[in-house]
Amino acid sequence: MGRVVITGTGTVNALANDVAGTFAAFCAGTCGIGPLDIRDADRLSIQIGAQVRGWDCEARFDRAQLSLFDRVTQFAVVAAQQAMEQSGLDLTLPETARAGVILGNAGGGMTTTDDNFRTVYEEGKNRVHPFVVPRLMNSAAASHISMIHGLRGPTFTVSTACASANHAMGLAFQLVKSGAAPFVLTGGAEAMLTFGGIKAWEGLRVMARDACRPFSRDRSGMVQGEGAAVFVFEDRDHALARGGTILAEVTGFAMTADASDIVMPSIDGAVRAIRGALDDAGLAGPEVGYINAHGTGTAANDRTECAAIRQVFGAHSGKLLVSSTKSMHGHVIGGTGAIELLACLMALQDGVIAPTVGHQEDDPECDLDVVPNVARRAQVEVAVSNAFAFGGLNAVLVLRRAD
């Protein structure tokens, strides 16, 4: 079995349209959540979101691309481009035949769906644009990235609600580790800040109206975000042989199902996923310094996640730094784990822990060091990223500092 390293990163999210800007926002504790600027927002009871603002799609893409790229594909394509550039990979190499793209996404091209449902239902038109299907399919972004970079191996999209990106990156890790692919572009993307996308979440009554305050006693729910993050997961020997820069190593992954409830999380499923990922990495709990929590800011998730962390790490729990960056970039649903992996990378590379902003009051049911409001310096050797999706689908990744 090989070793898997990260050699490229890219992102578009509410905090910044690149990794350097996102790291700077993490360090500053910037909150990207604000008033929603979308069509028909006046008919929504939820008025806030972590929106990518000032998105200059006309400057970034030509007419042919714009007619085929939903907003979610645009985010993913830009993030993938940044990751490829940073990696310095030579795309003329014959092994691009075995290299692929594995992305997480939950909603597909929701702007396309929303706009065209309006066309046929609201406006009563009987004709839609010919590219509605290739724009809205969940796998469109993965396909476009494979075409742009000529990656001809395993390419697909994973859809497991809020754990999609972690499942995608976990599968990419396993493929590269097994030797089936020399490198994979992996991560996730979501653009669900549409009228229909937000209206659907409103129905569940788990959304906050003012701010996302994970682990804070006065938390009142989640806030949706949008964006993408894409990484190059590469075989370590392959990276070393070509002189690539190793940003961090991916050392463990595990996935479990609660098999209990379609929305309520279970402690057991989370515990088995975290423990499984540590076992896969061959690690003992005390080696972990930072956990990027799923931390949605709902009553149910935060309480369950903290209990699971306590159960896995026991006495070491008190020494862990645990933060939820959803407080800054919002819950990016199927892409969220990818954006959150950036916080793990920042911890390992720069020794800075992204904070949980919006924290107002400690909650005895979330009795961990949640790095409230202000980023913190800490030497971290191992970071863990949690994702616990609706439907009880859990996926946890373990990263180690590059040696």
């Binding site: 129905g203 569940l204 009554r205 788990v206 959304m207 906050a208 109206r209 938390r219 009142s220 729910g221 409830d261 379609i262 929305v263 309520m264 800011g297 709902t298 009553a299 149910a300």
Partner: protein, 87 residues
């Protein structure tokens, strides 16, 4: 009993998979075996039935001004909302 109460009891009974005759005003949602998801569903059905908006966030049920402590409390609260939101 008012027709408002009958409608609400019918909605709650359907959610709890009980006969409406088995649902009484003093029962709590817990007594009826309705979990948090069932509660959100019942609230939606009541909103639709009376065309009202019920203030409720599943993350902070205690903070809601809407009294959910029993079936009778819900009936009284809905009657209040209908008066208020019609005004």
């Amino acid at each position: 009993m008012s027709s408002i109460a009958d409608t609400i009891i019918a909605i709650i009974a359907e959610n709890a998979m009980l006969d409406p005759a088995e649902v009484t005003a003093d029962m709590t949602f817990q007594d009826l075996g309705i979990d948090s998801l069932g509660l959100v569903e019942a609230i939606f059905a009541i909103e639709e039935a009376f065309n009202i908006s019920i203030p409720f966030n599943a993350n902070e049920p205690g903070k809601s001004d809407f009294d959910l402590s029993s079936v009778g409390a819900v009936i009284a609260a809905v009657e209040g909302l209908i008066r208020q939101q019609a005004a």
